[in-house]
Structures are given as structure tokens and as C-alpha cells.
């Protein structure tokens, strides 16, 4: 046995790591308010999501995260409010011709890009042409493809001429793809060898400051903004790869809110003695469904599809799988959107009746394949429940879990019998749940049910061109009912999000549509902070 003492070795073993830990601790620490920790900087709104957006260029964006940040940096002719209504943005007023073909806009003369230049009608024309030009390989050219011509009278007035009437056109103009970009900045980016999406410049209330890839995107408010300025001075979007880590960040005062609590966390926050008061439920425009491949017998018959729907008790499913984070769905269109009929109930739960219907359908004893994307665990849970329920009727469901691109490929190719589908609204109109998902012209791009129904096609087309709101509402409801009755999909639920906000964050609301907020009203209330914390000279802990 050597003569090195135990204490010598213990010192050797422990001194280094402890030194690192204690050294680290000296530079970082939060400050407790009461049950919560005070935010580290009252002037910065820090939000998060799990992904680093690929781009902030409106032409290339198609994701929710990039779409939201683009909405903060850029302006459109019109924009969405929190409640997904359209309000003026760059256009201070507009008119629509009776035939729905001409949209005339008056631009605000005071509107400027954050490089100081005025926004003029020519910018609108350039931005829109950039999206529809096939050479630019834009992600969503369909948004503006109905515009046949753009006429300009002067710098601040323009007319959009459509090739055919399209009632929800104003909604499309509020989408990220319709953001107005400054031509000179795009050309400068090309000239200097970077992409515009890396250092975007727009005319919105926030100015791009910095993007540290896979870490954060920093924006600051435009101090001389031509419209209403945000109350926060800075906005930081943080990439936090895991929702559970994000909760730790929130609890340590590093995030202002969690927009979407993970399903497994919902119960804890909603029943927590303190946090329950700060946990909110918000509707989002998203519908979950299981699409049937309507071209594969016997799923090409509506009564077979309807029978499969009758094995489900939607409310039970929502409770068991989503912890209540959903509302019962009786058709694709969610509540609050034109075409939704709140009176209609989903198919009745009737497994016995359904079994009788299926008996001679050719489905009994047969194996059908359900494709599910692997990213979301609750989708696999739905698949397992369906497997058990449909087995009662002798239908064998084989679940194929595929990663995202392979899953999309399988849906497009029709290489499935049933496929899980979550659909988030691009714009808050019933048309967005009918045309891309169920119109026969959209096979196989959006209509992955491969559902072809000339009657429905005509109903959808009529609703698109009908400019009278009341008549259009009836048409959308009829089309929605037709989809429900023909059951090209098993509609599971419309999603709800449970969010939690910092107790001192005021005016925070989760928007109905993804780009429906620019975080103008939110602020941290510090008015009674000294009394409450009563501990420190300055209550705000900083790194």
C-alpha cells in the first residue's frame, strides 16, 4: 500500500471540478420574487421555440417560427390582429371592386424601411413579383399567384388586378410571403455574398440586430417607427432544443412565457397552487385528422369511412392523449373560422353499428397501413388507440412511423391506407381547410386523402368567388358539411395550447393565427417590485 494519504487523493479528485462549479456559480444566479424568479432584463422579451429557422427571407419561409419573426421585422399591406382579423398595415385604406377583381390600396406616406427609405408602391410590385417568379424558387408562390397585374398611379397608390375573384384575398396579403421587401437590400446582399434571409431589413416595428445560429435571434424596436412602437425595447428569440429544458429556463426567469406546454406538463401547471393563475388556454387554428386514402378500395366508399369513424369517442381521446388540449371536431374547419358550424356533433360512437356496416365491406380481416410522422409522440398514441379500436371489427391496422420527409413523400405518392395529418391554418378562413385539403385539383399536394368529389369541388369554387359575406358563410358551411358527411378523414380534434406566462408579464396573449402578434402591447410590470422583493437595491438580476 503506498503512503499517499486518502485525504491527499480526495483533494486531488474533488478540487478541480468543485473549483469549476464554484467559479461558475460566482457569475450566474437568479433572484426570487415570491414563488417565481424575476426576469433577468425587464426591457427584453425573451421567447423560445425548438427550431432555428432556416431563413428570415419572406420568399423562402414556410415555417411557423420564421413566419412569426418575419411578421415582426416586415410589414405587409394588411396584417392580422391577435384574433386573426385583418387590419391596416402599410395600406391605410383600401377598396375592393364589386366583382372582386380589383383591390385598390393607398399606402401610408410616412412608412419607412429600417434603412430609412420610404416604402413606395414600386416596392409592393417588386416584392410580389419576386415571390411568383419561378426563377426565385419561392416556398409559397401560391399566395400571390392570383394577382394578374399590378398598376400604380403614383408612389402611394396601387391596384392589384386578380385573374378571378378570390374572397379571402386580403388574408393572403397578410401572410409572410406577401411581406414588402426593399429591392436595394436584396441586391446588396447578392452583391456582398450573403443571403437576405440572414440579415433581413423590413419596415416593421422591430429591427434585426443579430442572429447567432442555433442560439438566438435578437431584434430591437425601431425607435422612430412610423406606426405604434412595441413597449419592450428588445426581443430575443431563443432556440431551446427541448421543451422540458425550456420549462427550466422559464422557471429560472430566462423566458417570458411558454407558448405551448408539453402535454405531459399541462396537468402540473394547471393545478399548481400558484402557477395555475398564470396558465392560459388558447385556441389555435389547427385540426388533427387521420386521412383515408379515398382511392383505395374499400376506403373509396363513404359508408366504410364513416363506419371507421364511429369507433371513436372524441372527448375521451382528447382527454386521454392530449390531456384535454383540444376541442371536439366535426369537420375540418375549427371554431371561430368562417364555415364552422358549432351546432354539428361528430359521428355518434356506435361500434356495434359500425361493425355491422364493415362486415361485408371487404375490410374485415384485411391489413391497412397508417403512416404517422415520428416527430410527435401523441400521433403515435392515436395510432395505437386506433389499432386497438379497429381490431374490434377485425380490421388490422399496421402503423408505419416515418420521419418527416419520407412521411410527406408517402402521403404524396398515395403509398398508404390512412395517414395522420395535422393542419395549421395559413390564413383564418374556411377556404384554407377545404380547398388545399379536399379539392380534387390539390391531389396530391395538399389533398393527401386523394379525395375527388365534383360536387364538393363546385361548392368550394363557388365559395371562393362569392363576395357577399353572408352567402359565402352558407356556402362554406355546406361544403364543410359535405366533407364531414363524406368522411375523407377521421377528424380528431381542433388543437388548444396551454401557455404559461411570467406573473409580471402583462398583455400577453397567444395569437389565433401564427403571425398574429408583433408583441407591441406586452411589457413587464415592475411598478410594485421593490415592495414585493424587498431585498435588493435593484430587483433585476442580471448575468
Amino acid at each position: 500500500m503506498p503512503e499517499l494519504t486518502r485525504s491527499q487523493f480526495l483533494r486531488l479528485t474533488l478540487a478541480g471540478p468543485l473549483g469549476v462549479v464554484l467559479g461558475g456559480c460566482s457569475g450566474w444566479g437568479g433572484r426570487r420574487g415570491s414563488f417565481y424568479i424575476l426576469p433577468r432584463d425587464p426591457d427584453t422579451l425573451t421567447m423560445y421555440d425548438t427550431v432555428d429557422p432556416p431563413t428570415l427571407d419572406p420568399a423562402r419561409s414556410w415555417g411557423v417560427v420564421d413566419g412569426r419573426i418575419i411578421g415582426m421585422i416586415f410589414s405587409n399591406l394588411v396584417r392580422f390582429t391577435h384574433d386573426a382579423q385583418v387590419e391596416p398595415d402599410l395600406a391605410e385604406r383600401w377598396s375592393v371592386s364589386e366583382d372582386g377583381l380589383v383591390y385598390e390600396f393607398q399606402l401610408r406616406p410616412e412608412a419607412r424601411f429600417s434603412n430609412g427609405r420610404s416604402v413606395v408602391a414600386q416596392d409592393v410590385k417588386y416584392s410580389f413579383e419576386r415571390i411568383v417568379n419561378p426563377d426565385n424558387a419561392a416556398a409559397n408562390p401560391w399566395v400571390l399567384e392570383r394577382i394578374a397585374d399590378i398598376e400604380m398611379d403614383d408612389d402611394h397608390s396601387l391596384r392589384l388586378i386578380l385573374d378571378r375573384p378570390f374572397a379571402p384575398m386580403l388574408y393572403l396579403l397578410a401572410m409572410p410571403a406577401a411581406s414588402i421587401v426593399p429591392r436595394e437590400e436584396i441586391e446588396r446582399a447578392q452583391h456582398e455574398g450573403f443571403t437576405f434571409g440572414e440579415r433581413p431589413i423590413g419596415s416593421g416595428p422591430w429591427r434585426f440586430v443579430e442572429w447567432r445560429r442555433f442560439q438566438h435571434i435578437a431584434l430591437e424596436r425601431v425607435e422612430d417607427y412610423w406606426g405604434r412602437s412595441p413597449r419592450f425595447k428588445r426581443y430575443q428569440y431563443r432556440v431551446v432544443s427541448s421543451h422540458f429544458t425550456a420549462i427550466a429556463e422559464f422557471e429560472t426567469g430566462n423566458l417570458a412565457a411558454i407558448d405551448q406546454l408539453p402535454d405531459a406538463e399541462v396537468h402540473r401547471w394547471r393545478t399548481h397552487p400558484h402557477w395555475k393563475d398564470y396558465t392560459r388556454q388558447s385556441q389555435v387554428l389547427a385540426t388533427d385528422m387521420v386521412m383515408f386514402n379515398c382511392q383505395r378500395p374499400p376506403l373509396d366508399r363513404a359508408e366504410v369511412r364513416r363506419a371507421l369513424c364511429q369507433f371513436i369517442e372524441p372527448q375521451l381521446l382528447i382527454q386521454a392523449i392530449r390531456n384535454g388540449a383540444g376541442t371536439v371536431s366535426a369537420g375540418p374547419i375549427p371554431p371561430g373560422v368562417s364555415g364552422n358550424d358549432p351546432e354539428r356533433a361528430p359521428f355518434s360512437y356506435d361500434p356495434e353499428g359500425a361493425k355491422a356496416t364493415l362486415e361485408n365491406s371487404g375490410l374485415v380481416g384485411k391489413e391497412i397501413v397508417l403512416v404517422v410522422p415520428s416527430e410527435q409522440s401523441f400521433m403515435r398514441a392515436v395510432a395505437e388507440v386506433l389499432q386497438a379500436l379497429w381490431r374490434q371489427a377485425g380490421v388490422n391496422l399496421r402503423v408505419r412511423q416515418l420521419e418527416w420527409v419520407t412521411y410527406r413523400q408517402a402521403l404524396r405518392d398515395g403509398d398508404f391506407d390512412a395517414g395522420y395529418r395535422g393542419w395549421f391554418a395559413d390564413y383564418p378562413d374556411g377556404d384554407n381547410y377545404l380547398f388545399p385539403l379536399f379539392h380534387s385539383s390539390q391531389i396530391p399536394t395538399g389533398n393527401t386523402a386523394h379525395y375527388s368529389d365534383p360536387v364538393l369541388d363546385e361548392m368550394i369554387e363557388r365559395s371562393q368567388t362569392e363576395m357577399d359575406a353572408a352567402r359565402r358563410e352558407r356556402l362554406l358551411r355546406d361544403a364543410n358539411k359535405r366533407v364531414y358527411e363524406q368522411a375523407p378523414a377521421l377528424f380528431l380534434w381542433h388543437r388548444l395550447y396551454f401557455s404559461v406566462a411570467h406573473p409580471r408579464l402583462r398583455e400577453y396573449r397567444y395569437p389565433l393565427i401564427f403571425n398574429g402578434t408583433r408583441y407591441l402591447d406586452e411589457y413587464f410590470d415592475v411598478s410594485e417590485l421593490d415592495t414585493e422583493s424587498n431585498k435588493t437595491e435593484t430587483a433585476w438580476a442580471r448575468i
Binding site: 500500500m1 503506498p2 503512503e3 499517499l4 486518502r6 487523493f9 486531488l12 479528485t13 478541480g16 471540478p17 469549476v20 462549479v21 467559479g23 461558475g24 456559480c25 457569475g27 450566474w28 444566479g29 432555428d52 432556416p54 431563413t55 423562402r60 414556410w62 419561378p134 424558387a137 416556398a139 409559397n140 408562390p141 401560391w142 443571403t195 434571409g197 440572414e198 447567432r212 445560429r213 442555433f214 442560439q215 438566438h216 431563443r238 432556440v239 431551446v240 432544443s241 427541448s242 422540458f244 429544458t245 427550466a248 429556463e249 422557471e251 429560472t252 430566462n254 420521419e403 418527416w404 420527409v405 419520407t406 410527406r408 413523400q409 404524396r412 388545399p436 399536394t445 395538399g446 448575468i543
Partner: protein, 308 residues
């Protein structure tokens, strides 16, 4: 030695060519159209076709491979399909984060693992030895994501000592938890390996001779004992370090560490072939370089080893 290193460097070339070729063809054989990953959900066939033309996916695979090799020889790894940025820039941005985490984790692992193994070997079959070995067994059996969450829970949420995740301003406190979580995987292995080899070496005749000559305990343990026991430990350190440098996906995910591991997972999901190919090429280079370094190190640690 110079000739040996030159020969080893020359052997690298066919290995790297093999890695590039296999990665390229395997990537393109995977199901799923990369154009779909780039287009919105409502992309039409025309739009997909225009994306395929734009990126050259419509060319036969061997032509695409030829272009790729040609550009590679000119030092051009291509542009990321996803972000349109040069792959070399992306790797240059991300690799320092990976290197920092890997180096810190290895420091933690070497410091704790080797010390604990030494102590166990010097006090075999004592309570300390048994406790250390049980703890090392626990360390090797603990999934890194679970350990990571535990560390976050205690050190960030309960004690408020360290930040839960991210890189922050680059301060050392952001590094502590991920380095411990990642390094713990190697701690256990290093402790066990150090203990076993030290036990073997400490029972050798030359150790007895050194003691009989009156060498100090420190000299017996470190100069005569540890220097002879270190070669297998260095091998493990080399292999673990190389695997850490190849990205530690789970640690990076739990701690939102902006390293290469997460990036390549995202690239695979997006079918971002230039990023996949460039990163795998870098990983291959790292493995080859570290193996070479370890082999060279053997010669310094054990003078009996000669390179011809």
C-alpha cells in the same frame, strides 16, 4: 517517425474517398425527395420540379457525384439546401462549440475518472474502492439525457447556481453542466480501466524495486506506476474524445448546445445533403487524426514502441 506519419497521412486519402462516396450514395438512396423538404406543404409538382432543376437533383446520380467530387477537390463543400449558406462556414461556426464541449467533458472525465481509478487501485477492496466502482457503474449506466435533466433540476432550478441551457455569453458557467453530463460517460470507463491497469502494474517487480531503492510514494505511483499503466487509458481517451468531437446529440439537445451533433441530425431530417456530406467528412478526418495522434503518443509514453 516522419516516414510513418507520411505513410499514415497517405492512407487517409482512400479512406476519405470511401467515406465521401458511401455517404453521398447512401444519402441519395434514402427515401424522401429533398425538394419536398425545401418546399411548403402546398408545393405543386411544377414547383418541386423547379427546385429539383435549381439544385441539380434532376441530373443522374453519377453526374451529381462527379460535380460534388470536383467541387470538393477545389475545397468547396457546397451550399446548404436549407439555409443557402456555405457548408464550410456552417461547420466553421459550429465546430468550435463542439470542440469546447468535447474538451471540457474530457477534462472532467480525465480528472475525475483517472483520479478515482488511481485511488481505487491504491486502496483496493476498501470501502472507498467499492463505492467508487459502484458509482462508476452507475455513471456508465446512466443515460446522458436523464443525467442532464437531473443536473438542470438541481443546479439550475433548485439551487439557482448555473444556467439551465444555451451558450449564453460563452461564460464558463454555461459549460459546466453539459461538460459534466457528457464527461460522466467516460468517467466510469476511465476509472475502471485506470484501476485495472494500475493494479496490474503496481504488483510488478520494478515497483517493488523502486520502493526498495527508497523512491518517494509520489514517484512510485506516478513515475513508475502510472506512466506504465497509461497506454490503455490514452486509447480510451482518444476514442471518447473523437466520438465527442463527432457531436454529442443528446447532450446538445438537452442543454441546447449549438454544436455539430444537433446540426447533422437536423440536416439528415431535411435531406440537406451538402451539410451531411461535409460534416461526415469532418468526422472521418477527426477520427483518423485522433487515431494517428494516439498512435504517435504511444511512442512517447512507451519508449519500447518503435515506428518504422
Amino acid at each position: 517517425m516522419g516516414a510513418y506519419i507520411t505513410r499514415r497521412l497517405l492512407y487517409m486519402l482512400p479512406v476519405l474517398l470511401g467515406v465521401v462516396t458511401i455517404t453521398f450514395f447512401l444519402g441519395h438512396m434514402a427515401p424522401g425527395d429533398p425538394a419536398l423538404a425545401m418546399a411548403g406543404q402546398r408545393a405543386t409538382e411544377d414547383q418541386l420540379e423547379s427546385i429539383r432543376r435549381h439544385y441539380g437533383f434532376d441530373q443522374p446520380l453519377h453526374i451529381q457525384y462527379g460535380y460534388y467530387l470536383y467541387n470538393l477537390c477545389r475545397g468547396d463543400l457546397g451550399l446548404s439546401y436549407d439555409s443557402q449558406r456555405p457548408v464550410a462556414t456552417i461547420i466553421a461556426e459550429r465546430f468550435p462549440f463542439t470542440l469546447k464541449l468535447a474538451a471540457s467533458a474530457m477534462i472532467v472525465a480525465i480528472f475525475i475518472g483517472v483520479s478515482a481509478g488511481l485511488l481505487s487501485a491504491l486502496m483496493p477492496n476498501t470501502v472507498y474502492d467499492r463505492v467508487a466502482m459502484v458509482i462508476s457503474l452507475l455513471g456508465i449506466s446512466t443515460p446522458v439525457f436523464w443525467l442532464g435533466l437531473l443536473l438542470i433540476y438541481f443546479f439550475s432550478m433548485r439551487f439557482q447556481w448555473l444556467p439551465p441551457s444555451g451558450y449564453g455569453d460563452g461564460g464558463v458557467w454555461y459549460l459546466v453542466l453539459p461538460a459534466i453530463a457528457l464527461g460522466t460517460q467516460s468517467v466510469a470507463l476511465l476509472a475502471r480501466m485506470t484501476r485495472a491497469t494500475m493494479l496490474e502494474v503496481m504488483s510488478e517487480d520494478f515497483i517493488r524495486t523502486a520502493r526498495a531503492k527508497g523512491a518517494s510514494p509520489f514517484s512510485v505511483v506516478f513515475k513508475h506506476g502510472f506512466s506504465n499503466a497509461v497506454i490503455p487509458v490514452v486509447t480510451i481517451i482518444g476514442l471518447d474524445f473523437a466520438s465527442y468531437l463527432s457531436g454529442s446529440v443528446l447532450t446538445e439537445k438537452v442543454f441546447s448546445w449549438p454544436g455539430l451533433g444537433q446540426h447533422i441530425v437536423t440536416a439528415i431530417a431535411q435531406r440537406d445533403f451538402p451539410v451531411i456530406n461535409g460534416t461526415v467528412l469532418l468526422f472521418a478526418l477527426i477520427f483518423i487524426a485522433i487515431n494517428l495522434l494516439v498512435d504517435i503518443l504511444y511512442g512517447y509514453l512507451d519508449p519500447r514502441i518503435r515506428y518504422e
